[in-house]
């Protein structure tokens, strides 16, 4: 198993920033990544790594086989791998996505939780979604 960062101690440079869902039951038909409502964190960093944690309860209202994908982006560029679920119609799945974005330059940055589907209409359950970003330095 790969180890990132070894055993060097980390320091949290500021309070973690967290956003939660406000708009209820968002949907999308997009087959490419688009913004998930309310899931954007903008913070000014001192130059370090960003630990990003996203979660969303997803469903699909029109397709039994359509996957719903969740991704993280930094300043408009997708980072890390997509997480996905195939909830089917009438079911909900909890999808989590996380990444350690290393070597992020000091300055203002925006991290977003984004989503898309490859079939049907993706739905997020109520306001059950959140994004947390914390800067840490070695």
């Amino acid at each position: 198993m790969a180890t990132i960062g070894g055993s060097a101690p980390y320091t949290v440079t500021q309070r973690p920033a967290t956003v939660i869902g406000v708009a209820a039951s968002p949907t999308t038909t997009s087959t490419t990544d688009v913004d998930l409502p309310d899931m954007a964190v903008t913070l000014t960093t001192t130059g370090g790594d960003l630990l990003c944690l996203g979660v969303c309860v997803v469903g699909n209202s029109t397709s039994a086989t359509g996957n719903v994908y969740l991704t993280l982006s930094l300043d408009g560029t997708q980072k890390g791998m997509a997480a996905l679920a195939t909830p089917g119609i009438g079911n909900w799945d909890t999808v989590t996505v996380h990444d350690m974005l290393q070597g992020v330059a000091a300055g203002a940055h925006t991290v977003k939780l984004r989503w898309h589907t490859d079939g049907g209409t993706a739905v997020a359950n109520g306001t059950q979604r959140a994004l947390t970003v914390v800067e840490i330095r070695r």
Binding site: A24, T29, V34
Partner: protein, 88 residues
């Protein structure tokens, strides 16, 4: 609820091209339909879309139509299957 895939096709037929559609419900329970920019940001529908949205009558999806047909069936095996699947 709008049928977003149907509405997308209706918008295209009216010459209004958007990459995809989305929606959300606000505190009052009102559903807002929106489009996306080319880079995936949520943007309002073009003003020209208002007439199309107002005329939109959501049609049942293929699954909804099939399920309604099954539920209308008097066949006991069909009804039993719907109960097993939790769809009765």
């Amino acid at each position: 609820m709008p049928n977003l895939h149907q509405l997308h096709a209706e918008l295209a037929k009216a010459g209004i091209a958007v990459p995809a559609l989305g929606s959300y419900t606000d505190d009052s329970g009102a559903v807002t339909i929106h489009a996306y920019s080319d880079t995936g940001e949520i943007v309002p529908l073009p003003k020209a879309a208002a007439k199309v949205v107002k005329a939109h009558v959501p049609q049942p999806t293929e699954r909804e139509a099939a399920l309604a047909a099954l539920r209308a069936s008097d066949n006991p095996e069909t009804r039993a299957l719907l109960i097993v699947l939790g769809l009765a």
